[in-house]
C-alpha cells in the first residue's frame, strides 16, 4: 500500500538503473536523513550522543570500509582495527605537527596514510586466498598495534604511551578535544559519514564496484574476461583502508578523545566484522543496520534490568551481554546469513505487493 509501485513507469534503461527506481525509497531516505540531520541532534541527550548516535555513525563507516574489501571484493580482512589505528595516529601527528591545519582536512587526509599501508599489506592477496589471507591480515593487525606501542614518535613521547586529542577549533568553534560539544562533533561525523557513504554508493554501482564483484565471485574467471586482478584487489584495499582510516580518525578525535594502542587491537577488528556480516556483506545499508544492532544492543541491554527494577550486579549484566551478543550473532546468521540488509530487502518486496500477495 505505502510501497505501491503502480503508476511509476520507466521509459529508459537509465531510469530503470537509477539509484531509486521506486519513488518511496527516495521518500524514506529523505525521512531518515531528516531524522539524522535535524530531529536527532535537537532531541538527543548527551548520553544518547555519546553512547548511540556518534558511535553508531563511526562504526557504520568503519564497517562500510571493511565491506568494500570483504563484501564487494571478497578479500576477508581481520585487521580493520589496526588500520583505524593508522588513521588515528596519522591524524594525531598531523594536528600536532601542523596545528594550523583544519581538523576536518586532517581527518580526511589521515585516510591517505592508512590507504598506503593497506596497499602494502594487500600485496599478499595476489598470492594468498581465503582464510590464509585472513590470517595474513592478522599479521598487519598485530604488527601495527605493536608499532603503535613501540614507536614513541607516534605518540609524541608521551609518558603513558597514549594519544590525547588536543582542543581543535574551526572558525571559532571547538570541533575536537575536551572543549568540543557532542552536538558539534555529531554534525562533523554525520557530514563526513554522509559524504563517504555517497561516494561509496556511487563507487560500488560504477565500474570499480563491478570489477570488485567479478573478482569476488571468481577471480580466475574475472582475469579471463580481462580484469586486471592486481589493480582490482589493490584498489579495493586502498579504498577500504582509506575509509577505515578516516573512521579511525573520527573514532578517536570525534568520540573517544584519547587512545592507547591496545584500543586498536583485535576485539575492535572483530566488532567491525560483526557489524559488516550481521548487516550484510555487499550492502551499504547493512552497515548501518549492523552498527545499530551491535552498538545499540549492549547499551539497551545495560539499561533494561535497571528499568525493570531487577537487582542484578553490573558484572552479571556484562556477562549476560556478552552471551546475548554471541547468541544473537548465531541467531541472525541462521535466520538470514545474508544479513539485515537482505532482511530489509525481503520486507520491502513484501511491502510492494502488500496487501495483494500473488
Amino acid at each position: 500500500m505505502f510501497y505501491r509501485t503502480a503508476g511509476q513507469f520507466k521509459t529508459s534503461y537509465s531510469a530503470d538503473q537509477a539509484l531509486f527506481p521506486v519513488r518511496q525509497d527516495a521518500v524514506l531516505l529523505i525521512v531518515i536523513l531528516a531524522f539524522a540531520w535535524i530531529i536527532f541532534p535537537l532531541t538527543a541527550s548527551e548520553f544518547t550522543f555519546q553512547t548511540l548516535l556518534i558511535p553508531i555513525l563511526i562504526y557504520s563507516l568503519a564497517a562500510l570500509g571493511l565491506n568494500i574489501l570483504t563484501g564487494y571484493a571478497g578479500q576477508l580482512s581481520l585487521g580493520t582495527g589496526a588500520f583505524m589505528g593508522v588513521g588515528a595516529y596519522a591524524c594525531y601527528k598531523m594536528v600536532t605537527l601542523m596545528p594550523w591545519m583544519n581538523p576536518i582536512v586532517a581527518i580526511l587526509l589521515s585516510g591517505v596514510f592508512s590507504a598506503g599501508i593497506g596497499v602494502v599489506f594487500g600485496i599478499p592477496s595476489l598470492r594468498i586466498k581465503g582464510f590464509y589471507l585472513a590470517i595474513a591480515t592478522l599479521a598487519a593487525q598485530f604488527f601495527l598495534v605493536w608499532l603503535f606501542e613501540k614507536w614513541a614518535w607516534l605518540y609524541n613521547y608521551n609518558a603513558s604511551g597514549a594519544i590525547q586529542v588536543p582542543n581543535l577549533d574551526m572558525f571559532g568553534v571547538y570541533v575536537a578535544g575536551p572543549q568540543a560539544t557532542s552536538f558539534t562533533q555529531y554534525y562533523v561525523v554525520l557530514a563526513i559519514v554522509s559524504l563517504l557513504t555517497w561516494v561509496c554508493i556511487n563507487l560500488t554501482r560504477g565500474r570499480p564496484g563491478r570489477t570488485w564483484k567479478a573478482t569476488r565471485d571468481m577471480d580466475i574467471a574475472a582475469e579471463l574476461i580481462g580484469i586486471d586482478l592486481m589493480r582490482s584487489k589493490l584498489t579495493a584495499f586502498a579504498v577500504s583502508s582509506y575509509i577505515v582510516g578516516v573512521a579511525g580518525a573520527l573514532f578517536v578525535f570525534m568520540w573517544r578523545g584519547a587512545a592507547e594502542p591496545n584500543l586498536f587491537d583485535i576485539p575492535l577488528s572483530f566488532r567491525i566484522l560483526f557489524i559488516a556480516i550481521i548487516g550484510g556483506l555487499g550492502s551499504v545499508l547493512g552497515n548501518y543496520l549492523g552498527a545499530i544492532l551491535i552498538v545499540g544492543l549492549p547499551v539497551v541491554l545495560g539499561i533494561v534490568p535497571e528499568a525493570l527494577g531487577l537487582e542484578i550486579t553490573s558484572a552479571t549484566v556484562e556477562h549476560l551481554n556478552v552471551m546475548i551478543v554471541g547468541g544473537l550473532i548465531i541467531f541472525f546468521l541462521i535466520i538470514e546469513p545474508h544479513g539485515l540488509a537482505q532482511l530489509w530487502r525481503l520486507i520491502r518486496e513484501k511491502l510492494i505487493i502488500w496487501p495483494f500477495p500473488h
Partner: protein, 429 residues
C-alpha cells in the same frame, strides 16, 4: 529500520533517565571490573569498596544522614566501556572512580567541563597531584611516583643503589609506563642501571621471554608494575627460573594474596610496597562482619576478606566517605553536589586520631590533601609474603616529596600545554 531502532533506543534511554532521577541519596558510582583478564585483581577491591559503603549505610544510615547510592558500572578494564560508564553516570554522580589509568587519562579532560571530581586512590596519572593544574582529579593517598620512590629507598637501605642493575618489569599499558619518568630520573641521579622490560597485554600469562631476558641481564632487583593476570604469571615464572624472591618487589597492585597463593611457600620473600594493610582485628572489620557479612549482603568470602586487596578496598571507600563528610561539615548541607565534594576531597585530613575513630588504625598511614597537593603523599609500608600471608617488614616509608613535586609540576605543565586551552585552578598558591 534505522529510524525505528534509534527511536526505540532513545525512548528506552529517556524512560530510564526519567524514572530514576528523583532519589534522596548521594550517587557515587564505581566503574568496576569484575570481568575480563583483570577481574582476578579487581574483584576483592570492588568487594571491599562496596562493603564499606554498605556498612556505613546499615550502621549510620549513610553519611551525615543521607544514604550513599553506591552503584557499579562494569568496564571489564576496557577504556571504551569505561568512558561509556562515565557518560552514563555523570548526570547525577558526585564523583567518578575510573579504576584504570587508561580510563582516568581519558575522562581527565572531560571532568573539567563536566565538573565532576575524579577519585583515583593510588592509581591514575601521577602529576594529578598538582592541584593547580588538575583541579578535578585526586589520587590520594599515594601516587605511582611515590611508590617508585619508596621502593628505591628500600633497596638503597638494604644494599645501596649505586652501581646496581634494576629490571623494571611492567605492563605495556599506560599504567605500567607511569613510573618510568621518575625511575629514569633517579637512575641518572643515583647511578643505577634501569632495564625496562615490558609485558604485552597478550603475554601476561606467558612471560617466559621476559624472564629469559631477566636471566640474561642478571639484575640485582626486579621491580614489577603488574596487574591482573600478569602478577600470577610473573610470580610463577620467577619461582620457576629460581630468581631470588627477596629481590623481587612489586607495586601495591602486585601484592595480591591470591597471586602468591599459587606458589605458596616458594614465594616466600616476595615484597610489595603498600599504602594499606589488612588489620584483621580492627574495629571496622567487626562492623563489616556485623552489618554486611552476617545479613548476607557481601559478595566477598572469608579468605578474600583477610587479604591485602579487600582491606585496600575499604580504605578507598573510606577516603571517599571522608571527602563527603568534610564537604558536608563545611557547606552545612547533607546532600552535597559534585563541586562541594571536590572541596571535601581537597581538604581531607586523615589523622591518627581520625583513623582510630573510624576503627582503621594501621590500615593506612595518616595523610592530608590541600589545594595544591591532591595526593597527600602518605607513604607506605614494605610488605613481605611469608608463605601464607603478607606481613609488614618495614617502618612507615616516606617518598622523597621534593623530588617528586618538582617532576609533578613539570609534567603537569607539559600536559596542560599539550591540551591548551587548559583551565588552571588559580585559587591555589
Amino acid at each position: 529500520m534505522r529510524m525505528t531502532a534509534k527511536l526505540l533506543a532513545a525512548a528506552v534511554v529517556a524512560a530510564v533517565a526519567g524514572s530514576t532521577a528523583s532519589a534522596e541519596s548521594i550517587y557515587a558510582p564505581n566503574l568496576s571490573y569484575r570481568t575480563g583478564p583483570f577481574a582476578a585483581t579487581g574483584i576483592p577491591l570492588m568487594n571491599g569498596q562496596k562493603d564499606y559503603i554498605d556498612m556505613l549505610n546499615a550502621r549510620d544510615g549513610g553519611i551525615g544522614g543521607v544514604t550513599v547510592d553506591f552503584d557499579e558500572c562494569e568496564t571489564g578494564y576496557s577504556t571504551e566501556k569505561g568512558v561509556e560508564c562515565y557518560e552514563k553516570t555523570k548526570g547525577k554522580a558526585i564523583v567518578t572512580q575510573p579504576w584504570s589509568t587508561g580510563i582516568t587519562l581519558q575522562v581527565l579532560p572531560k571532568t573539567n567541563v563536566d565538573e565532576i571530581p575524579i577519585l583515583a586512590p593510588g592509581y591514575g596519572f601521577s602529576p594529578m597531584a598538582d592541584g593547580k593544574v588538575f583541579k578535578w582529579a585526586f589520587n590520594a593517598p599515594s601516587s605511582y611516583w611515590d611508590g617508585a620512590s619508596m621502593i628505591l629507598q628500600y633497596i638503597d637501605s638494604q644494599d645501596g643503589l649505586k652501581g646496581k642493575k634494576i629490571a623494571f618489569l611492567h605492563l605495556d599499558h599506560p599504567f605500567g609506563k607511569e613510573p618510568l619518568p621518575f625511575l629514569e630520573k633517579k637512575a641518572a641521579e643515583q647511578g643505577f642501571e634501569l632495564v625496562p622490560i615490558p609485558v604485552g597485554l597478550k603475554e601476561m600469562q606467558n612471560q617466559s621471554a621476559q624472564w629469559l631476558q631477566i636471566r640474561r641481564e642478571r639484575p640485582d632487583y626486579v621491580v614489577m608494575w603488574g596487574w591482573g593476570a600478569m602478577n600470577a604469571g610473573a610470580i610463577t615464572e620467577a619461582v620457576k627460573t629460581k630468581f631470588p624472591m627477596d629481590h623481587f618487589i612489586g607495586v601495591w597492585w602486585s601484592g595480591h594474596d591470591a597471586d602468591l597463593d599459587l606458589v605458596g611457600e616458594e614465594g616466600k620473600g616476595y615484597k610489595s610496597i603498600s599504602w594499606s594493610f589488612p588489620e584483621l582485628d580492627a574495629p571496622v572489620m567487626a562492623d563489616i562482619k556485623k552489618y554486611v557479612v552476617d545479613p548476607g549482603n557481601s559478595q566477598s568470602n572469608e579468605k578474600e576478606m583477610q587479604g591485602v586487596f579487600y582491606g585496600r578496598g575499604l580504605v578507598i571507600s573510606m577516603i571517599l566517605a571522608e571527602g563527603i563528610k568534610a564537604a558536608q561539615d563545611h557547606f552545612g548541607t547533607a546532600a552535597i553536589d559534585a563541586t562541594q565534594l571536590r572541596w571535601g576531597l581537597e581538604n581531607l585530613d586523615v589523622t591518627e586520631e581520625r583513623l582510630a575513630e573510624l576503627g582503621m588504625t594501621g590500615m593506612v598511614p595518616p595523610f592530608k590533601t590541600s589545594c595544591s597537593d591532591h595526593t597527600g603523599h602518605s607513604g607506605g609500608w614494605m610488605l613481605e609474603w611469608d608463605g601464607a600471608k603478607f606481613v609488614k617488614v618495614s617502618d612507615l616509608l616516606k617518598p622523597e616529596t621534593d623530588a617528586i613535586a618538582a617532576l609533578e609540576v613539570e609534567k603537569a605543565k607539559e600536559y596542560a600545554d599539550a591540551n591548551a586551552p587548559w583551565p588552571m585552578n588559580d585559587d591555589c598558591n
